[in-house]
């Protein structure tokens, strides 16, 4: 699956020089503005409309070089970089101000799951199109009424001999209306204990019987959808891992997701901005309540930053973050909520205008401590797995 043009990156002290040269040569000027917001993201997929020819060129070149998924094996569309090389690559990308060529749930979620649990054939089939941005994936975990109890999956896949027959409903499926495929948890054994009867199944969203409906949040339009399955036929080969052992895959991905959300929670409205927020506020100097809240939040935000740094250092030192990811998720998202409460308080009545933009961000943060595992679930994980308290 590797293309003939794919460069070989050597794991030597020369790597930094080599990758810098590659980036200099291949990254279009327009992709060097360091932009990272929603508008700058390239999600890829069959229906993707590139924002510019440069965006397409940048994706194609990175995809061909395996640099959309640098640490994946070359055989599956990656560049086979080591962790250390990947770090250098990221530094050089930051140095150049290059945009990310491609972001997707395929890269963040399904890829790692397939690399760990997929069959060789599945890896060959699904990974390279992810790497090249050809297929866009969405995830189907949550169901209406299940909430924190992710294993309470009711949507079912019935074994019909040569195929699964899928019926049910998923919720909080981000970008399901734009995705080409979905990876979903489905109940394949209704009699087994709830964690033992679930399978991790891949489905083509263009299959007959699949439909989606966007969800409006209190913060406005959102990428979230409800997704409905009505007698959808799915080939038997599209189960990842063993049938009825899908919970293992899900658990693996959940820890992975928590780490990402906690890191993301931190960057939303970066720490640096808080000083400016308060400096701009009409009562930023005169109101001790606002000021004290900001001081506390700033102290905690810095400690959070240092904690993310420490855990990254630990991970590089080979110590996994493990269950402590629950702490990052909990503390990061709760902090982010406090930050945006402060932004609203500092903004006063100006921030009450919907068009001002602060209010939607503020309301959106209220979901941070719900999505990807609620704060309550995180505290229970810490209590049980780290502190060893019963329950």
């Amino acid at each position: 699956m590797t293309t003939s043009t794919q460069p070989e990156f050597a794991d030597t002290p020369e790597f930094r020089k080599q990758i810098r040269a590659w980036l200099e040569e291949n990254c279009p000027e327009d992709m060097r503005d360091g932009a990272s917001g929603e508008g700058a993201i390239c999600w890829g997929g069959k229906t993707w409309e590139f924002s510019s020819p440069a965006q397409k060129l940048w994706l194609d070149r990175c995809g061909a070089a395996g640099l959309t998924v640098p640490t994946w094996p070359r055989a599956y569309g990656g560049a086979g970089l080591s962790r250390a090389q990947d770090k250098i690559l990221k530094e050089e990308i930051a140095e150049l101000g290059a945009r990310s060529p491609l972001d997707s749930f395929g890269i963040w979620m399904l890829g790692p799951a397939l690399l760990k649990f997929g069959s060789e054939e599945q890896k060959q089939t699904y990974l390279p199109p992810i790497a090249r941005g050809e297929i866009r994936w969405c995830q189907g975990y949550s169901e209406p009424g299940a909430g924190s109890d992710l294993a309470g999956v009711q949507s079912r896949a019935e074994d019909r001999g040569d195929h699964w027959l899928v019926n049910g409903q998923k919720i909080w499926t981000s970008y399901a209306d734009k995705a080409d495929w979905i990876f979903a948890l489905l109940r394949t054994d209704r009699d087994a204990p709830k964690h033992k009867g679930i399978s991790f199944i891949l489905m083509d969203m263009s299959s007959k019987g699949v439909s989606t409906r966007p969800i409006r949040l209190i913060s406005g339009a959102s990428p979230f959808c409800e997704t409905f399955f009505d007698d959808v036929e799915v080939p038997k080969s599209q189960v990842v891992g063993d049938v009825n052992r899908g919970w293992d895959v899900a658990k693996y991905l959940l820890t992975h997701e928590r780490e990402m959300i906690s890191a993301g929670g931190q960057t939303m409205g970066a720490g640096r901005a808080l000083g400016a927020v308060l400096a701009d506020a009409e009562t930023g100097q005169s109101d001790p309540v606002l000021r004290a809240d900001a001081m506390r939040t700033e102290v905690d935000a810095l400690a959070m930053e240092m904690t993310l740094e420490r855990y990254k250092d630990q991970a590089e030192g080979g110590q996994g973050v493990g269950d402590a990811s629950a702490m990052l998720k909990y503390a990061g998202t709760e902090l982010n909520k406090r930050r945006l409460e402060l932004v609203m308080a500092a903004g006063g009545s100006d921030a009450l205008d919907w068009d001002d933009g602060r209010a939607p961000s503020w309301l959106r943060t209220k979901a941070n401590s719900i999505e990807g595992g609620t704060s309550e679930v995180m505290l229970s994980i810490i209590s049980r797995r780290i502190l060893g308290l019963p329950g």
């Binding site: 909430g147 309540v289 919907w354 068009d355 209010a359 719900i370």
Partner: protein, 371 residues
């Protein structure tokens, strides 16, 4: 004396109010208005007028019910429960409180207009992003018998729909309070899309001429006069926020009892129980503060500042906590626009800024308590 329990009359009023609002102004009505880009509900206001609510603080001589602030708080609290949209606070509470302080036939007439539903008001005070009636820069320049107003007012709640505006301005004789029709030449109203789907506007005064008759009270007395209205409004908004908190809390505890996770109702999780119990305590304490503010406004309005500020500070804090806990305890569904909790959260945020935020009122308390 000033008993902090509801009288039978107040309890009857509350029951009547709840009936009217549940029927004519449930949260689903706010949703309809929002979806239709509407910020006024004339039919509802007419019902309120018919029920005598517009005249709750209007003297009987002007056709009002003259029931006092505590009664007005009963209504405001019930309105907070269903997030009713109406000019009640601006018109029936704030404007009426100001107008009735003046022994002036024009004010009597204005009060009669309020009670009959013929006129609504908005109060234009803020000029920055924070409530600060001490810093007024909108200029009133003397011209002949009248004045010319120049400047800008922001965050004028009900300012887009009101028939009249009370405007606090600065003149060389000191602060002046004017009562003028909102359609006066030179006055431009820019309505903003407020997060709680109600009406607020930015008012631009571009050489707006007002007559000497439109000055309320004496020149220089404007701020002192308006203060009665502002404190009445703050207390009523505290009452409304308390009702909001109570409703959000009731919805949440109901949900806790129904919702199952991991095979049991989530109401059986002790961590949620304790948070719910704590929130209930907060609401109880806030309820007391609002009752106290009402009693003092009725008995001795010149001594009400402390009680009003305690009530407002507590109520907006409690309402926001109730809304936050409401969303979090509901989980994902609480985040959806299709569910009501978001409306409670947005209204609580607006109440947190309108007529003074927590810091403003806590500072009032600190000052009055000697530190």
């Amino acid at each position: 004396m000033l008993k902090l329990i509801q009288t039978e009359e107040e309890i009857m009023l509350q029951e009547a109010a709840r009936g009217l609002l549940d029927r004519s102004a449930p949260v689903s009505r706010l949703r309809e208005l929002r979806d239709a880009n509407q910020t006024r509900d004339d039919a509802l206001w007419q019902e309120m007028v018919d029920a005598g609510w517009a005249g709750i603080l209007v003297p009987e001589s002007a056709g009002g019910a003259d029931m006092g602030h505590t009664a007005a708080h009963v209504l405001a609290r019930e309105m907070g429960r269903t997030l009713a949209v109406s000019p009640f606070l601006s018109t029936a509470v704030m404007a009426a409180t100001v107008l009735r302080r003046l022994d002036d036939p024009r004010c009597q007439a204005a009060l009669a207009q309020i009670a009959s539903g013929a006129r609504t008001y908005a109060i234009a005070v803020d000029e920055g992003s924070k409530f600060n009636p001490e810093r007024i820069e909108l200029m009133a320049e003397k011209r002949g018998n009248g004045y010319v107003l120049k400047g800008e007012k922001r965050f004028v709640v009900d300012g887009g729909n009101a028939d009249h505006v009370l405007v606090l301005a600065q003149s060389k004789d000191g602060p002046c309070l004017f009562d003028l029709p909102a359609d006066r030449a030179g006055l431009r109203r820019n309505v903003s899309a407020m997060i709680d789907s109600r009406d607020a506007a930015r008012l631009e005064f571009d050489d707006v001429a007002v007559s000497g008759d439109e000055l309320l009270g004496a020149a220089g007395d404007g701020r002192a006069l308006l203060r009665y209205g502002l404190e009445a409004g703050q207390a009523a908004l505290a009452a409304e926020s308390t009702g909001l908190a109570q409703a959000a809390f009731a919805i949440t505890t109901e949900y806790l009892k129904e919702r199952k996770q991991f095979g049991v109702t989530i109401a059986s999780f002790q961590a949620l129980q304790h948070r719910a119990a704590h929130l209930w305590c907060e609401i109880e304490m806030t309820t007391s503060a609002v009752l106290q503010a009402g009693r003092i406004l009725d008995a001795d309005p010149d001594a009400a500042t402390l009680a009003v500020s305690v009530a407002k500070a507590r109520a907006i804090d409690t309402a926001q906590l109730a809304a936050r806990e409401g969303v979090q305890m509901h989980g994902g569904i609480g985040m959806t626009d299709a569910y009501d909790m978001g409306f409670y959260m947005k209204r609580a945020r607006v109440a947190a800024e309108w007529l003074g935020d927590y810091g403003y009122h806590a500072a009032q308390v600190a000052q009055l308590r000697g530190f």
